[in-house]
Symmetry: C2
């Protein structure tokens, strides 16, 4: 087997800010971490999105993710995909529903775009908790793609409980700050003439 064909890296500050195994008791505490990851990612030159996977009942942090599109040169590397992929490889299963007595949820600083929406169906997550709305991301210039209007219902129909509007204002403030700083909007075709 050669070197990995694809790699997503997380800088050391992510683990320092979000220690694996730490407990976050409720949705707001978990969202505060996702927002702090988004905010710190901007400070380190990345996109304004953060996410994390938690064991739902205990609130134990399993994995964190930040947007790594620019840093790793990968369009899939949105914070949600990074967090759920780190969780799967850390736990050793492509299906986070494999333990009958343990459920996992993804907490994300902004509602998923069309790509992350699609990725949620196969991850085995039982919950999704969102901060900023897709409309907030769009207002900041991010393209959410043709995500169905009933995206939350489609996820819920597959056993993924969806909670929105958790610290929406705080989450949206990170998006606005990124734009105010002149941050790159990295949809295809938008970062070059």
């Amino acid at each position: 087997m050669p070197d990995s064909a694809v790699h997503i890296d997380l800088p050391d500050w992510v683990a320092a800010m979000a220690p694996e195994g730490a407990c976050f008791p409720d949705a707001e505490a978990r969202m505060r971490l996702a927002i702090a990851l988004a905010d710190a990612n901007v400070a380190h030159g990345g996109g304004p999105f953060g996410a994390a996977v938690f064991e739902r009942t205990s609130g134990r942090l399993v994995a964190s993710g930040v947007n790594r599109v620019l840093a790793d040169g990968l369009s899939i590397a949105h914070a949600e995909v990074v967090a759920l992929s780190v969780a799967q490889q850390r736990l050793g299963s492509f299906d986070l529903s494999w333990e009958a007595d343990r459920d996992y949820e993804l907490v994300t600083s902004a509602e998923p775009c069309v790509q992350c929406f699609g990725a949620l169906f196969w991850a085995g997550l039982r919950g999704l908790v969102c901060g900023a709305h897709s409309a907030d991301a769009q207002s900041a210039g991010f393209d959410e793609g043709p995500k169905p209007a009933d995206w939350a219902e489609l996820l819920q129909a597959r056993g993924i409980a969806v909670t929105t509007d958790v610290l929406r204002e705080e989450a949206t403030a990170v998006l606005r700050a990124y734009v105010a700083l002149g941050g790159i909007i990295y949809n295809p075709g938008q970062h070059h003439p």
Copy 2:
């Protein structure tokens, strides 16, 4: 920076079968490679899907992908996501449309599921060429998820030309052979009691 937080590996036989830089003149030749990758992946214990990214005009092979969900323990590691991610990291850009004079297309042995459909919007591809239909994958037991009925039109509206039905029978035969062999259908919740 620690070891990669997420890694997708490609076995050596992929590079041997699909040498980077080789030229595949037309859609059928490119699809034959995607189908051969799918078929070989089954022989090596993986899922029955293959894909590759080509420079559209020259037919130069940039990157290959096979389904690595089981092998790498990652629900995102469908052949399409693997191929486009390998292409991006190999070419050094998250946006395959960054070169004004060069377009890239993804050739896949089966139409994309809801996840890969979503991932296509941000990759910078200019073309998608498909073999088996989503209905063929569904007949073989694979869940395609709630992909919109007008998925091809939605991609085309974003500048991604979609071609379907290229060697559909040959592509579907790989799916059927996988099922006949008792292959695992690896949607969440389906591989354990």
